[in-house]
């Protein structure tokens, strides 16, 4: 009896420190997903065998049913899903958890997102244990659904969301007005838009003209990233945003929009593509206009945001100057870890978990590309 309590305490302590680590989001942790992290117990100093055994006992071979509802099927969410699966596989071998994983995604119109509400109701009806949601549906309706679902014992975790727009202060209310257990994402303003702007400012030494290729007007993601980007640019009097156009988050429209703007402003120094696809489209437009890509000294900087395999390749080739890698695989892993900590181990988890993001350019592309490739290479599937 005593020993079990002891074990439990120990386990909790270890996990608590781990989760804290995760949530603080150190850069090391981002890479840590690749290596065996502290819990896996290959560390020379910490032997986790006892902990694993205890958790295995607690889990007792139970099946955890998880729902995954991205706003659309795309590479980013596929990477996130693979990250989650890899983490699940890990827990399965170590703790004997059995998993059920069901993905539901609208096939088109990612930005409407009302379909997601139906998916969530179905998950609740099917008595799933936890659901990971990313949706463009109005925040209010999602919160309402989470509340109803939670009452029936389903836990909700938002990921890659834009809750920054809707969250209230945690000064008086720990939930910040959100009914999801936790929100695993990055801050689109300061961890994406702002990073891109800082990179441009640094490379251009605070002087130059910029054009923006934005996502579809009205998208929350667009709104936030633009906000962060502009906020940083404003601090540099030498930097000027001369034009902006709608690239609809797709490569072809990004290309057309960039080509149009390049006709009008052939002398610009940087293009901010609000996601990688549009940035790559803009890169093609630079080629088409027979302009020069950034070589560290001159040419046009093209920067995107996402951290997809294709983007990394283009950085290597020099077609894309840089991108903001928002760590989708890491996000997927963190989703599972957070859910497990809360649902199974009964721990309190932070309301807002920010996964680390990083600017990737030629100098560090090897690290992050190999990381994503390794995650995708596991072939684990649920």
């Amino acid at each position: 009896m005593k020993s079990t309590i002891k074990t439990k305490t120990l386990v909790l302590a270890v996990i608590a420190s781990l989760v804290t680590l995760t949530m603080t989001g150190s850069a090391a942790n981002a890479i840590g997903t690749l290596k065996q992290d502290a819990l896996t117990g290959t560390s020379a100093t910490v032997d986790t065998a006892a902990t694993d055994a205890a958790i295995r006992k607690l889990v007792n071979g139970r099946t955890i049913k998880l729902g995954f509802a991205p706003p659309i099927l795309s590479e980013a969410y596929t990477i996130a899903q693979q990250g989650a699966w890899n983490q699940m596989k890990d827990y399965e071998t170590r703790y004997g958890v059995k998993w059920v994983w069901t993905e539901e995604a609208p096939l088109n119109n990612a930005h409407s997102g009302v379909e997601t509400t139906g998916f969530i109701q179905n998950y609740v009806a099917k008595k799933y244990d936890a659901v990971f949601v990313c949706s463009a549906a109005p925040a209010a309706v999602m919160q309402q659904l989470y509340k109803q679902g939670s009452a029936k014992g389903v836990e909700f975790y938002q990921f890659n969301s834009t809750e920054q727009l809707n969250q209230k202060s945690q000064a008086t209310d720990a939930t910040a007005g959100l009914s999801s257990v936790s929100n695993i994402s990055y801050d689109n303003r300061w961890q994406s838009g702002a990073l891109a702007a800082q990179y441009i400012a640094k490379e251009l030494k605070g002087k130059g003209e910029i054009i923006m290729i934005l996502g579809p007007a009205g998208s929350d993601w667009t709104k936030l990233r633009e906000q962060g980007f502009r906020a940083v640019i404003k601090k540099f009097p030498g930097l000027k945003i001369v034009g902006a156009a709608d690239g609809g988050y797709v490569r072809d429209k990004g290309l057309t929009a960039a080509a149009d703007l390049l006709t009008k402003y052939p002398k610009i120094n940087a293009i901010y593509g609000e996601n990688e696809d549009m940035a790559l489209g803009a890169s093609a437009a630079i080629d088409a206009a027979r302009l020069k890509h950034w070589d560290g000294k001159s040419g046009i900087i093209t920067i995107g945001a996402d951290g997809l395999v294709s983007g990394m390749d283009e950085i290597r080739k020099g077609n894309l100057t840089a991108t903001v890698n928002v760590g989708y695989a890491d996000m997927g892993r963190t989703m599972i870890r957070t859910m497990f900590a809360h649902k199974v181990l009964g721990m309190d988890v932070a309301k807002f978990i920010r996964v680390p993001t990083v600017i990737v350019d030629k100098s560090n592309v090897d690290i992050f590309q190999s990381q994503i490739k390794a995650e995708l290479a596991t072939k684990v599937k649920y």
């Binding site: 795309s74 969410y77 579809p216 902006a244 072809d252 080509a259 149009d260 006709t263 009008k264």
Partner: protein
């Protein structure tokens, strides 16, 4: 006698469905070249045209189907599917000509299925092609597992996509669009099939009574639009440099709009290839002007809606003034 001949050629000119779109083009282009200085430059024109060749191809295929009295909502998805086939096969190292043949074959096959569903099975064209669109998208999704196909690009595909020119401003999509335009234009005007196509769309019963195999004509119309979608997909694969599964969304509506602006009718029996091309040019030019003017992207849609209305209003105006002119000339007689 000479007067009568003049009247007839006048009548022909005035009743040409593309007159409206030409006037619109001059109107919008004229306004734009005064307000945006870089608008009227070769670079700008090659720019916005290069982004519209693949829609032009879709619109041309759509025009053929519209003339035959049908509608094809699947072309956007078929374009994406064929782009996926190009990407996938290229990745597996298949030679370029073979890849292209495969994509065209798939386009033709899907078109043929559409045609069979509409004629032999007797489904409403709207539903049959909508379902086919779901099919094609579904196959691409299953194939790609939701992740874009990447890594197939090389210099050849860059050229196919129009990202690299083959000679000065000349690009492969431009050549394809021109060749297809001439081929389809000649087909409609100068061949038996073209005549039968108009005939089927205009009066199906009479066509059948004339001993023409209506079913074959209609199926062939869908095959042509499928092949056009495949060509468009081949270009798209090169131009987009990746093939995401949701690549084709919404292009069919653009193609219909371009075809209708260019004088085609949903009732069948009317339409011109040049009209479809100019219709798409109007649409592409609109986006180009929006971007050049720096219209905030939130106002883009309203702008596009406005241009669409303007397009048809100008057309309407042309038709009514044409009637007046014709009446005056007959009254004088």
């Amino acid at each position: 006698m000479a007067n009568q001949r003049f009247n007839i050629s006048m009548k022909k000119f005035l009743s040409d469905p593309i007159l409206g779109v030409i006037i619109l083009l001059l109107l919008v282009g004229g306004v734009a070249s005064f307000t945006v200085e870089v608008f009227f430059t070769l670079q700008n024109f090659t720019n916005f045209l290069s982004g519209s060749y693949f829609v032009m191809l879709l619109a041309m295929g759509m025009t053929v189907v519209l003339i035959s009295g049908g509608i094809d909502l699947s072309i956007g998805a078929v374009m994406a599917l064929c782009a996926g086939i190009v990407a996938k096969l290229a990745l597996q190292g298949m030679s370029v000509p073979l890849v292209i043949v495969c994509a065209l074959a798939v386009g033709a096959f899907v078109g043929c299925l559409n045609g069979l569903l509409v004629t032999v099975v007797g489904l409403p064209d709207f539903i049959a092609t909508l379902a086919m669109s779901a099919f094609a998208t579904g196959i691409l999704f299953i194939w790609t597992k939701g992740t874009p196909i990447v890594g197939y690009m090389d210099e050849t595909y860059k050229q196919i996509g129009g990202l690299a020119p083959i000679y000065r401003e000349v690009t492969v999509p431009m050549v394809i669009a021109i060749v297809v335009a001439f081929a389809l234009g000649a087909m409609l005007k100068k061949t038996k099939f073209g005549v039968h196509l108009f005939s089927v769309g205009s009066n199906r019963l009479a066509t059948r009574q004339s001993g023409i195999n209506v079913t074959n004509i209609r199926i062939l119309a869908y095959v042509i639009s499928g092949v056009c979608a495949a060509l468009s997909g081949i270009i798209m694969a090169g131009r987009n440099t990746t093939v995401p599964p949701d690549l084709g969304g919404g292009y069919e509506v653009l193609a219909i709009a371009a075809a209708l602006i260019g004088g085609a009718s949903l009732m069948g029996g009317r339409g011109r290839i040049l009209g479809a091309i100019l219709g798409e040019v109007v649409l592409a030019m609109t986006i180009n002007i929006i971007n050049l003017l720096g219209v905030p992207s939130s106002y883009q849609k309203i702008f596009i809606g406005g241009i669409l209305l303007l397009a048809v209003l100008v057309n309407q105006l042309v038709i009514s003034s044409r009637t007046k002119i014709l009446m005056r000339s007959t009254n004088k007689k």
